[in-house]
């Protein structure tokens, strides 16, 4: 269980809040889509949760524990983060995934750490790339490596900043299916920033709309209503179901 309570953030005191009083909760094994226009504060929210940006107010509880009171390593054992476009790392796939064990390292990696890295690589289907440099891989493979690195952290909460932005359509679906499968298997909570509403409604369980630095709506499938989407994205849409798959069809020409 992840609880975010009243998170606020400002770059400096004179400017307004980039994030104002954001709260939500997320069950184990569930995926949350963070939605909103460019500049709504989605990336800032995720960075605030992981203390990469220091929150002005508010707290983040993972299984009832306030993670922002923990040391960096302790918190990194609870929360993993995959930044947007982290591709060009000039290290081997194995070393990159092994980096996920960093929060657990006392003096050096143990045999157990190496085995965990190897088993995550195996479960992500990256066996053939173990000794290749990440910078030589395609976008889809590099994204998988970053995901594998985060999973090697054995986190309770996984934060993904636009994991599908550099992927072709097939890889977008594959990446989100993998995330969903892992979330359920390991009962990890996942927060995903997405721009594609169809991917969000298809693969996520709950939805958080950010607008003007605040939560506009939060909830299950019911908040993905045409009214909410129109208000947040300033765009007319239809929400329908095709062969049991939820679909959001935009009509950008219609003035609202």
């Amino acid at each position: 269980m992840v609880e975010v309570e009243g998170l606020s953030f400002a770059y400096n005191k004179s400017a307004g809040d980039v994030l104002h009083d954001v709260s939500f909760r997320l069950e184990d094994g569930k995926c949350l889509a963070v939605l909103g226009n460019n500049g709504a504060g989605k990336s800032t929210l995720i960075k605030c949760i992981d203390r990469i940006c220091p929150a002005r107010e508010g707290r983040v509880l993972v299984d009832g524990e306030d993670v922002h009171r923990m040391s960096g390593s302790e918190m990194a054992q609870k929360i993993a983060y995959v930044p947007q476009s982290a591709g060009a790392v000039n290290m081997t796939v194995f070393d990159t995934v092994l980096l996920g064990r960093k929060p657990y390292i006392k003096w050096d990696v143990t045999r157990e750490d190496r085995e965990i890295a190897a088993s995550v690589i195996h479960s992500m289907g990256l066996d053939d790339y173990v000794l290749r440099s990440v910078s030589e891989l395609s976008g889809g493979e590099a994204q998988k490596v970053m995901l594998a690195r985060a999973l090697a952290q054995e986190p309770r909460l996984l934060l993904l900043d636009e994991p599908t932005s550099n992927l072709d359509p097939r890889n977008q679906h594959e990446a989100l299916r993998t995330v969903r499968r892992i979330a359920q298997e390991r009962s990890i909570s996942v927060c995903i920033i997405l721009h594609d509403l169809n991917l969000a409604i298809r693969y996520c369980d709950s939805f958080l709309f950010l607008k003007d630095s605040q939560v506009y709506a939060f909830g299950g499938r019911e908040v993905m209503s045409p009214e909410n989407i129109e208000d947040v994205y300033r765009m007319h849409v239809h929400v329908m179901s095709y062969m049991g798959i939820p679909q959001i069809i935009p009509f950008p020409d219609i003035r609202i």
């Binding site: 960096g72 982290a86 000039n90 960093k102 190897a118 173990v130």
Partner: protein, 359 residues
């Protein structure tokens, strides 16, 4: 094709062994080069005679030459090369800049100005003879080193401030800032020399060439101590450097206090550079080039790269010094000039292909 995960682990462990083997080969090459270099000079001494003398079985003449002249020189080359190269590797990591090193960012030049202040203003050194090997004695190494560290740190502080407040400056921009700092400090050194008396002027000019022959065993002990401390710090942080290589936000999400690691690492690097500069003068490019050579062999894994860079730096400086002793013997060319001659073209090559590989 799905393989058993065990074979992947084995493949990785073979890969790790290969990197260690590369490190050992480089270390053996450095030792061989050191023995050869110690034999080159006005009297040529074969390598096995040197080994014999080190273990106390040499004759009186060999003892004098080897312990008094050859070994201090080669030890200085090893320590200074290793210090400059390991701090170069660390600077490149914490600044996310493949062109970073003490000499390209103006830290060495700052330290040189500081040392000149120490020698001229505080009277820390004098010219004592015309012999090339011992032309300058720094008779108060502590004040000279302290001044060098203060001024070198000034460059470091400016570089850190620029990289923090102007994040989009890029690798080239930071090096331009280094060029600006270098000319600022060169100007300062020139002014100091202009007003210095003849004897001190000679001391400073000769010393800025970069000369390994200056070092005596006391100074070498100071060098070795600083090197040991900096190496220990770098190795304790090897996993932090690996995390930072993957990007600042990723490193922070892995629990690394990136700001603290960056500031302390840069402090340790400027101390290393300042100590190296104040004992042997400005030696350019070794700190930049040695880590890049080793990245080709051991990759960007700082567990291996830091010691490998140190070994490569030592090897490069020994080779450069041997070349300087041999090329127009019996004249010994200053080491600073040699490394600049060979380093500048390598630096240009890195500039042309650096952005593609490490940017």
């Amino acid at each position: 094709m799905i393989k058993d995960k065990g074979t992947q682990l084995e493949a990785y462990e073979r890969h790790t062994l290969k990197k260690r083997a590369a490190l050992i080969v480089a270390a053996l090459a450095a030792i061989a080069a050191a023995l050869f270099s110690a034999g080159v000079g006005s009297i040529t001494i074969p390598a096995w005679e040197i080994v014999k003398t080190i273990f106390g079985a040499g004759d009186a003449q060999q003892n004098t030459v080897i312990w008094g002249i050859r070994l201090p020189r080669v030890t200085a080359a090893i320590l200074v090369g290793a210090m400059l190269a390991s701090s170069g590797a660390v600077m490149q990591c914490v600044l996310h800049n493949p062109l970073a090193s003490a000499s390209t960012l103006g830290v060495s030049q700052g330290a040189a100005f500081g040392a000149a202040v120490g020698i001229i203003v505080f009277g820390g050194g004098v010219v004592n003879s015309a012999s090339a090997a011992t032309a300058v004695t720094v008779n108060d190494p502590y004040i000279v080193t302290l001044c060098a560290f203060v001024c070198g740190s000034f460059s470091t502080a400016v570089i850190i401030a620029i990289s923090r407040f102007k994040r989009d400056i890029g690798p080239g921009g930071l090096v331009l800032a280094g060029v600006a700092l270098s000319s600022l400090f060169s100007g300062g050194s020139t002014l100091l020399q202009y007003f210095a008396d003849e004897q001190k002027l000679g001391a400073v000019v000769f010393w800025t060439f970069g000369n390994l022959g200056n070092a005596n065993w006391t100074e070498l002990a100071v060098l070795a101590a600083i090197f040991a401390v900096s190496m220990l710090y770098f190795l304790l942080n090897r996993w932090n450097y690996n995390a930072m290589e993957a990007g600042g936000d990723t490193a922070r999400s892995l629990g690394v206090n990136t700001r603290a690691v960056m500031l302390v690492s840069m402090g340790v690097c400027s101390l290393s550079a300042a100590v190296a500069v104040s004992f042997v003068g400005i030696i350019s490019f070794v700190g930049l080039v040695a880590p890049h050579i080793m990245r080709r062999f051991v990759g960007n894994d700082y567990r291996c790269l830091v010691p490998a860079s140190a070994v490569a730096g030592a090897l490069l400086l020994i080779l450069a010094d041997t070349f300087g002793k041999w090329v127009i013997a019996p004249v010994v060319l200053p080491i600073g000039a040699i490394t600049s001659f060979f380093g500048a073209p390598l630096f240009l090559i890195l500039l042309f292909r650096g952005g593609k590989t490490y940017g």
